[in-house]
């Protein structure tokens, strides 16, 4: 029963990333979209919240914000919208941390 956690808010403005991390379990995956992508920037304070979690980032949202993939923490996967759809399929359910 793996779950996909969608986080769409900046971790510097909203608490949703922190909550999502606290709920995530073994097989769960997290996808950062919209302003949520900032969480994956390597030298940012929020990056620590992602440690040990299976995290992906939506590429189009990353590019829009001028964040090169070389700026991301290690182990993060970049996906496009088709990859987003695949992640929804690969997990049994989705929680959007609005």
């Amino acid at each position: 029963m793996a779950m996909l956690h969608l986080v769409n808010k900046s971790p510097y403005d909203a608490s949703s990333l922190e909550t999502a991390s606290s709920i995530m379990k073994g097989d769960d995956a997290m996808l950062l979209i919209e302003d949520g992508v900032y969480a994956a920037v390597r030298n940012g304070k929020a990056a620590a919240s992602l440690e040990g979690l299976k995290v992906s980032v939506l590429g189009p949202d990353l590019a829009a914000r001028g964040i090169g993939e070389d700026k991301l923490i290690d182990g993060v996967t970049v996906v496009d919208y088709a990859g987003f759809v695949d992640m929804v399929e690969a997990n049994d359910k989705v929680q959007s941390w609005l």
């Binding site: 029963m1 779950m3 608490s15 949703s16 909550t19 606290s22 709920i23 995530m24 379990k25 049994d92 359910k93 989705v94 929680q95 959007s96 941390w97 609005l98």
Partner: protein, 135 residues
Amino acid sequence: MSEIKKFMYVNRKAPYGTIYAWEALEVILIGAAFEQDVSLAFMDDGVYQLTKGQDTTGIGMKNFSPTYSALGDYEITKIYVDKESLEERGLSLDDLQHLVWEDEDEDWAEKDSIRLVSRTELADVLAEQDVLFNF
């Protein structure tokens, strides 16, 4: 498709500041007619929805907090409240409404609807669900 699904409504927003809490309740009430296996979770600012003594006369909005005490009549009996969210906010169960339901199988004995859970327990409950409604 006639199998019963485990529905979970995840409530994370404070009441009145935005309409999400109230429009979530509207879904919950209508959803009750579909006879799924329904649970509610209140976490983060969502725990504020259940506070006692809400009085909205000064802000001109409808006070929808009495609706929570009617949930038992809709056979919504599993209401999970995140303990850590309460504590962080300086609240305890005493600050919340006492929500109950009547158990048909035990001669309509009144039972507590609220289940105070740790974050870890809440994660387990969420993991068991089929569908999550996000508010």
